[in-house]
Symmetry: D2
């Protein structure tokens, strides 16, 4: 059992993290807070548990630990998972890495820096080797980043298509759930019965992160994928689950049935056969039904780790492939990916 | 004053039609029903008025008239606006045209037939001349079609771009309101907090109708526009207002500021200066704010006849233009367009 | 294993029934349809599965059987659970009872007839003996009725209060989920962001059924409870879970802590210790938190069979007790209750 | 024209206030801020305008003025309307009253103090005379309070019933809109598809304020109404409009038709005939339809100043009267009431 400090444990991603780690076969979570007001309090008294998974029995009894180096050491922390806001993470995470901690982080800061692995495990587990470069920063530990939620979902579907048919261009419109904005991120009065066609910074993240994740490892760096990703990101009144409308111009001609075949189950993915507990049986599920996936019905497939794909079709005029992809934004797109990466690190002997 | 028979007057589009026609300066509505059960009853007793416009005082007192040729003649009907389901319209509308009635129809049947004008007035009022060809069918009257709701909104924004910069390719993802499914079309239990990524037939309509509406009149036929429109259409839990995420590959390079300029107010549109009462002051309103348009806030601009556009931006990698467009699906996309077309017909002396 | 014919298996209650029966240790479901169009088809091809429980693997492969006496006999049906609309049940259920079938029915018809047991198992399992009177109708089988959804939830909370403190008067306002209206019962356009303060017949059901369920068995009849239940029932935009705001005037003075105590776990209920598989560990869960229960967070407690109670407080001026109760309308309020009653019948050797 | 300083002008109530005052025939609004960050900025740059009324042309150009005594005097402020949070109002409002300002305040602080009028104009305009007592505090100005939103709606319906039939006891369950929680008051993730059965302090406000508003003026104080109001208050996913389920035990027997008659239009209310611009033609509208009022359809009746009542019925067992009342929480329940009170003050020569 490894003891993992969870930073940002009371937010929406933090709640998923704590629930996933609570009964994890390899990990034991320790909620850690940067707020002196909260340190020392019962987790159950501080958190406003609003996710649809029931809070596991006993979890509420944990004590929120103070974030201080000595305390982390005394607590016997083996590694850190961070769900801190990016503005805070910018300072905290490098400081911890310097002190020797391994950090798996959901924060968007540093994701594009060349020596920071940006990992969606089934897609690019091999990029983890970039951490070797981080020693040059004078760090005794290292940082691995979880991709942006939308990008995690998207890349899981683009990878098999890219490998088989090649990709020239992607246009994606997202319909993103309100849980993606965080607990305090979105006043109810703004989104009730409404769409907000703007999410700050999101389109750049999708564009840049996709190219890095789907890039190829060349020695000590990642060569970015050679195609462009045009994104339009929107907030919709759905609780959990980002739905993506994807248009792909493939290099080789592809029929919908071919696309369905390479996507289905994505068997030859980069963590296949590694026995990671959080890895879903099928990273991608393909629907035949004409009107699926739907977030309310399908977001929990594979305990939220499976991306669902449906409506694979070919535009009759242009030959572009169109499909709809759905993933759980705070599980596959955040907490679940962080846990899966942690499992990968442990398997590789890195934590 | 022209007396207009309204077919399908109790549905969601029918309610908008009745409200718009009730105090219209040129038209007087007569609700007509094909159901023998409803004929002879008070309109107010039959309709379940659920739209956000209050039912005008007095409207409920109208009698639902029976659909029979003799009755229509006795009632002194000058022309017909149809909001019938397509399956019913297929039979009813040609029969009426044969008998000499002018029909402005929202039904999707026949929209693509070469001699049937498919009119979004600001965009292609001139196509109305196609009706001259309909005499060859042996009709004494004629049929003009209102475009699909999403297509009405889309074409109003594509037209000025096409005219100034040319268009190579369009990819559009729609987030369509539940009112677009009609009163009975969507059980609450299906869409609450959900997205349904499929609307039967919709993507083909957007693709084909856009090319016809944006086509050029060449003698007695329309030469379709030469670019493709790839569409992905979705139902979202929003009451009124279809939001479109649009990607356009222009022929000539365009900057967002240029696009904003040609869209703003769309001054040189095909009905400018005609004094049609339902024509909005600005067919297109361009927002500078980063997070607009939003359906709950902006759907009623121009009494529902204005299409709002925002987030005009240029993809940094490809140069494609991206923007968000919003329009009222049962007003600009249906009832309002039907009334505006009727006004156009009257101005041209055709009714 | 008993083979149970499920009538109305494709509706919202039917879907819950099929899911609960599919892996049931004692029962095996056979979906039966009255529609000749559907008979013989795969269940999975007919049903539009929209509930939040995933359709169990294999369930879709069942064949919808035709409703005909010979067929039911050939299929080896042991008893029937009906989720038919009341209008249809009125004819079908007595006919089946006459032929010797035991029927557990969700339909509202006949619920108030003196010889028909109206059973909420933890509350009045003993009323089941009323079926002995049904022989006088010339029936070889019998009918047991599941109470109205709101009434099932309400009576589970009133019973322990009545037994300990006595009840003088109840006023209850319900906030009922859209799934309670059935698959086709509520157009999305009516309830989106709205409240409909009327549910046909519901208030009478709550008033009359509560008094019957909480009545005492006196020989071959039920003596109705002696207090009144004033109800106001409303539809709200919540998917699953009826929330009740309850005001109770008790006969003896009661403090909130006393009420909490008699409600908590409801240990001495009428099926305690019988080992019925669908009986929840705790029929009633009492929350201390000030803002619970909430339908989205708490509706699934006890697999939807537990009623949650919170905000127990005493009006400072009048001494009335106020509380909030929440139950799953299609599980505790319909399908789950039907299965639990079936288990009770089997335990008592009646099926 | 009186110049009115609006405190708290950018919140949800503040936005309604600014819109109502912008084209008011008697008043001219001056937005005033306590935040040194915001002072001096354009109102349109600071406010996030999210209400369904379009922001009036020109309003955005106003400058947010600094809250300082000298500045208020230089600005020629005649009186103040406050939409400050209660915690801030506690200090600010008495300080302004001391300096000679008349204040109409939405904040809940001080509402129950004996010399503070708590005014719902049609119900108890006469209570305004309490301000004479405020001189004893050493104030040169005075404070008048707007009631709690739910209480404003409730008392408008109880007053005519009380006057004609007498009232013994009231039980009310509210279904309150999310806009009642304020712009930042309710994270979207908490209320989406959910009910929160708790609103801090609300039930006490309804109980105490109702008795004060419906009390009778006896010399220099209000004698509270002699009946109790038991309340249960809930937050529901509706944007605007509080819906109340009301049970009333009248002293004299009343039939629904009698109740409808005394409620309809409430003609003999305390401001009838005074010509106040914001007074609705009908303070109360009574619906015959079985399923009204509904917030989405009826909240805007009388520009949000009319309370709608429907489903008036008599409990068959107890004779209690039941009805449903709906009012616009930020108009009738806050901003509109504040403006109406201001008009009353002007008519009475008090500002």
């Amino acid at each position: 059992m490894r003891r993992v400090a969870v930073l940002g444990s009371t937010g929406l991603v933090g709640q998923r993290l704590m629930a996933m780690l609570w009964n994890h076969p390899w990990f034991e979570p320790v909620p850690v807070t940067l707020s002196s007001d909260k340190a020392g309090k019962r987790y159950g008294n501080v958190v406003d548990w609003v996710i649809d998974w029931a809070m596991p029995e006993g979890l509420g009894e944990l004590t929120l630990e103070s974030y201080e180096l000595n305390n982390l050491k005394e607590l016997g922390i083996d590694f850190v998972i961070s769900a801190l806001p990016s503005s805070v993470a910018t300072e905290v995470e490098p400081a911890l890495a310097r002190e020797g901690f391994a950090i798996v982080s959901n924060a968007s800061s540093m994701r594009l820096e060349p020596d920071i692995p940006l990992i969606n495990p089934e897609v690019n587990a091999s990029h983890i080797s970039l951490i070797e470069e981080q020693g040059k920063r004078g760090w005794k530990g290292f940082i691995v980043k979880v991709p942006n939620c939308t990008t995690s979902i998207l890349t899981l579907t683009l990878k098999p298509i890219m490998d088989t048919f090649g990709i020239d261009l992607v246009a994606v419109t997202s319909m993103q759930a309100i849980s993606g904005a965080g607990y305090h991120g979105l006043p109810a009065v703004k989104i009730a019965g409404n769409i907000i066609p703007y999410i700050k910074g999101e389109e750049d993240k999708v564009r840049e992160e996709t190219k890095k994740i789907l890039g190829s490892l060349a020695g000590s760096e990642v060569k970015k994928a050679g195609f462009s990703v045009m994104a339009s990101t929107n907030r919709v009144p759905v609780l959990d689950g980002h739905t993506l409308s994807v248009f792909v111009k493939t290099k080789k001609t592809a029929e919908p049935v071919d696309i369905a075949e390479v996507l289905s189950e994505f068997p030859n993915n980069e963590i296949a056969g590694m026995g990671l507990p959080t890895a879903p049986e099928k990273p991608v599920k393909v629907f035949d039904a004409t009107d699926r996936p739907q977030p309310r019905l399908d977001v929990d497939i594979g305990n939220g780790m499976t991306v669902s794909v449906g409506r694979i079709r070919k535009d009759p005029d242009t030959g572009w492939i169109k499909y709809v992809a759905l993933g759980h934004n705070t599980v596959r797109g955040a907490a679940g990916n962080a846990v899966l990466i942690s499992e990968l690190l442990l398997r590789k002997g890195l934590i």
